[in-house]
Symmetry: C2
Subunit: 343 residues, 2 copies
Amino acid sequence: MTDRKVWTLKSVAKELGVSNATVSNAFNRPDQLSKKRREDILESCEKIGYSGPNKAAQSLRKGHSNIVALVLPDSIEYMIADPVASAFVKGVSSVLEKSKVNLLLFSGNSDHINAVADFVDGFICYGSPRNAQLIEQLRTTTKKVVTADFDIDRKASVGIDNEQAAYEIAKIAIKSKDDDIAILGLRLLESNVTCRVYDLPNADFQFSIAHQRLRGYNRAIEDLEVNLRIDRVWNIPESKLLTALIAVREALTSTPRPNVLLCMSDLIALAAIKEINAMGLKIPDDIRVVGFDGIDEALHSNPPLTTVHQNSEKKGIQAAEFFINRSTESVLIPFHIQHGGSV
Amino acid sequence: MTDRKVWTLKSVAKELGVSNATVSNAFNRPDQLSKKRREDILESCEKIGYSGPNKAAQSLRKGHSNIVALVLPDSIEYMIADPVASAFVKGVSSVLEKSKVNLLLFSGNSDHINAVADFVDGFICYGSPRNAQLIEQLRTTTKKVVTADFDIDRKASVGIDNEQAAYEIAKIAIKSKDDDIAILGLRLLESNVTCRVYDLPNADFQFSIAHQRLRGYNRAIEDLEVNLRIDRVWNIPESKLLTALIAVREALTSTPRPNVLLCMSDLIALAAIKEINAMGLKIPDDIRVVGFDGIDEALHSNPPLTTVHQNSEKKGIQAAEFFINRSTESVLIPFHIQHGGSV
DNA sequence: CTGTTAGCGCATTCAC
DNA sequence: GTGAATGCGCTAACAG
């Protein structure tokens, strides 16, 4: 295998007997030289195997790379397992691909956006990254930032009205003042544990979608004048069946057994439905269950899940379009209640 | 909002009254200066808000970036929808994340690897990219390349013995010399159409996994001395239920109706099972079906699918490890027959 | 241990 | 239209 010469713009210019600028212009600024000259040069480059200016050097010089980093809430593996996150990524990538912008996947567990910040034109950030330091880094970066399901002041964002959605679904789930409600929360706490939540953190975390949803539930609970016992709120650290199952079992085996389960994700609700069926209890007669997200699987449970449907793919599309258009807007995307048979 | 100064190594050096090299060394080569000096400098940098050398410039200078491009067979959206591809990506990302290497997703529909080649340390290429030009570009790049389910001469690769696997599963599916076999192929043709295949292309395409599997099927067919009619091979351009359904219907409505379906992916086989059930036919009595891949859904069809199980996630792990270790090996990963009730 | 120098590969002035 | 010069931000080699 003969090692082929590695061309640079400079060496190409010398080879062709023209100046560097001319070669550069041939690739970047057609108006700066005659058509014929340009075509000759491009043809020669093709022939010798020079496929154009080095993009890394170009990026250093021009200050942009045509790459955007998608900051995920957690690991890349987790994103793949989570249908909601996958749908978002799908939406983002469809827009970027059309715009010929490349996508770098960035784990929410990473230490520092610096590892990629200088290579990318900016960040699309989906949900609050597990490593909270990234938030501060994103807040202070000079690069473009669009967030989704999560806000950083003065940055463009897309999301839904989580509080209102939670309020509406809770109103549907709760039918009587005597209902005994349990809330299966998703990432209510910063820590990675599945447990009951007695005290809620005060800080930034209050703005997480989990807390927005919790406020919605609570508002419905107050409106309907029902009582929420102090030991009825659980934290689940990630939206996974097996993780959710732990909290589900705790809730279902507590005495008295709650008869309304407000779940902050469909995956949690589906875990609950499975467990309730396994226990031989009837949904919705013995227990009512509502979810959040509207994933496909929610249509196929027994009974189908009543849930908040949000269009994650569209959210991704919107976020990517905001990025491309350098928007600084914040929008709320519509959601709707999807009626199954679980209430 | 006060615009904070954007520091460069040079401006920081001037500010601190030391030379560029000293600042650079403080970040990159601790052995080149006293501990105290280093700590002082790093602390000052922290204070003024300089978070270290620009990675893009660093990469231009050093020649590596700690980013690897994962070249997908098709769009990113398609990868997300395909459980086999997702599992592969999951495997790759788990290894890269552990090694603190960043992942750029690169669509197999892209025009040219140039768009990212100068930013990345190399490519992991999963399956033959839809845009065949990328293959040639990958062949001639000077960057590191590892391929999976697909080969480029002289590059490291991981895969399974597709021909042998296809041979074994076909031997299980075929039970009599009188069996009437149909082959539902995945990407047997380069073109994006769902249709019968009468002639097979000769060129490079012969080395695709589809053709390896076809050879396996054919070897079993010859071994068992059964006859494969000339109009019994279909091409399906992508492993999707709806796309597969078209070919499935063509096959099932042809006269005489085949009684053995050799499917090159589980998704295709599952489409077939669904359709056969809908037609009121019995599996395996009326028709036998086998798949390829061993995805989770194959366990839950009615009846469960008999298929070739391959560990895609492990394949991803292996590919990423090859990349990290600069391996130039080619390995075949074991597969096994997963017995369901469909034969 | 420190500072100076010369590029990494390129794009943009500015004269001609 | 063209070519030389400057610098994007950095690091490695070298001299001190």
